[in-house]
Symmetry: C4
Subunit: 224 residues, 4 copies
């Protein structure tokens, strides 16, 4: 199947999922409304912003991922469908965090922040799985770049090592979400949300290497 | 009318319908939230996963179906509209099953699982009707393959016989959903949902024959 | 502006609006669920089917309308936006009718069916306004057909006269919705919904004249 | 990244956000329904119309903005994402205004109208920021027009001066929303909503200068 089909369907799903986040805000202002009640709803705004930026980044990375290939086969379609199943679920932990960080239901803040982190970790793992599949089946999927070049240009979750460190860069994302889960379990769910937000901002402004094309690969000097 | 128009509209409807499934999850965690209440919501997660995979497969098959034709006429538009009417309704039986499998409303689990199966059977029949229409009007719809070749390549619901059996393959889908309805009527609605989920997984990993094109048909050896 | 831009945005709006109709169904089965309660919800199913077919037809006619032009100017964009404002509102009278035809709130069935008809009449009038605009500015909008040919091929609401009658065909639609409003005011809101449904089915199966292109117009024999 | 990708994703977000406004209307008619209760819901209709036209205009201006460029880089993607975060939030102040202008919760009308204005001001500022970015990076983003020509053709918020005035035109939009906030703070939230609506109608019918292309710029006479 031509990969544009799946990309355009995925784009639609991303666009609807990101827009449904507004339902978090719509819960504000039922009943009485005052400047005080609007200010007390800060977890709703915070959760909205963090999840909006997170889905936005995921959409960008989705494009970078599928920009590598021209074709898509059945296993890749299935992997993509499961990935989307995670993305579409994001408004759920978002609502959990927004409703339980403060107020009468604040005892639920800890499980809410833990669920949020777990959903993000699962999505990250599926991004990794799709990338691995792309790298291993590069030829059949219509990309001419060699496996090593592809692996080195892996976006966000990628194998590109940070300068001076021997830890692959994608560990930052997974490690950050794991740290958020630990912080939530330690009893600080609001700080966990702050960590998730910082991860989103970090990836927003971190310009990642674009995929190398077959032409560029042919002209590239031999890697050391 | 050019078939791409109808396909792109259908893609939008599929994308919105699959994303609206998250409203099932949003019902979790109203009021108090704990790890226990999150675990008790397993029917919500199960119904979400089953319906997500099911709509995803239906989207793939929709593409395979309409990949056969370049044009679309008024009867086909009407058939497609009625098919979409079924797909868009899927969040309804999903919510029924999710809310009534367990808990205080568990007496409704049986009718919920029956309604789920009936909606799936109706959708399957409309997929069949569209396929029949495509096969019978292949020429006018811009496909050059012969009727017999088209019939043999019917996706999912197709006329391709299983090895060693004289039963057409689409009987599996219809038979499976019928079995789910019977199991639900016998008093085991959770097992009915498990059957619906297995059907989705079966079709996900079952690589179905792609449509034959006119060129391939011309080069194909005469069928026995 | 290129008309494809506005068409693709409109397609998205139609796709979301038609899919949001499922929220009518989601109201069923809150609380206890039984075969009886499922059967008692027939106004929900009826309203869902009628509105789904109606929006589906409106989408088809929208394509036929904008299939006449290549360009779109600011007044046409504004007319289209107001038309979409009516289409997006359809789930509102749909919910009114579904919730108030029967049950404890049945006294609201009459105003509900009246509102439904009025929304449809307003939408029909805007389709007419767009058509008039298209006909009058045919040259500037990139269609080569003459004004008279365009007017005669007006879809659904069109000036094509019914055989043996001197009444333009679009009177059927407007007249039908007006009749529904009158029937509702007379105290029979369920019959009004039946009339709205019959109108949808009538237009589904009524193959309307496709727009004539400039080439066809040039080859057409002089009209009598 | 090719700018069409981001535009098509943005179109999807706009289409879903504008359609979700119908949820404001769906709150009408819960419980008893009568012609009186329908008439009493006028703030719902007013808020629906104002927000629908406003999002519609924003979609048109979004197209005009991105019609200037062929490419899109990471900072522009981030700016666009934050802009969309504002657009998606519009149903929230819309619901606040609709629910609190009249009725038992009318004391919340003032903060509701203030929040509405603030959201609009924030969105306007981000439109300005995107425009500034486009003007400053015109070369790298694939537009050949000079910076001054681009600046003069800025849509809606633009630097084109009104005849006889030395105030840039975009001050009207920002000034109007600021005036609405002041009017709301003075205790007249319904008049604030009227101002927001007049701003939308003003921009609907105000034909703004289309972006100049590189070719036009080359042929343009030297500006005085």
């Amino acid at each position: 199947m031509d990969s544009r089909r799946a990309e355009s369907f995925s784009d639609g799903v991303f666009a609807v999922a990101i827009t449904l986040l507004v339902f978090n805000l719509l819960a504000i202002g039922r009943g009485a409304l005052s400047y005080r009640s609007l200010a007390d709803a800060w977890p709703q705004y915070a959760a909205y912003v963090v999840s909006f930026l997170t889905i936005g980044i995921m959409w960008m990375n989705h494009h970078t991922l599928f920009g590598h290939v021209r074709l898509i086969d059945r296993p890749l379609l299935v992997l993509n469908l499961v990935l989307l199943m995670g993305v579409v679920a994001i408004p759920f932990p978002t609502a959990l965090v927004a409703e339980h960080l403060t107020g009468p239901n604040a005892s639920g803040g800890q499980p809410a922040a833990v669920v949020y982190g777990i959903v993000m970790i699962v999505i990250s793992l599926f991004y990794n799985a799709i990338w691995e599949y792309l790298v291993r089946h590069a030829g059949a999927l219509g990309t001419g770049a060699t496996r090593r070049l592809l692996r080195e240009s892996m976006p966000m979750l990628g194998g590109k090592r940070l300068p001076g460190l021997r830890v692959p860069r994608w560990s930052i994302g997974l490690g950050g979400y794991l740290a958020g889960v630990v912080v939530a379990l330690a009893g600080f769910p609001a700080w966990a949300l702050a960590i998730y937000g910082l991860l989103a901002v970090f990836y927003l402004f971190n310009h990642l290497p674009e995929p190398v094309t077959a032409d560029e690969a042919a002209q590239a000097p031999p890697a050391p």
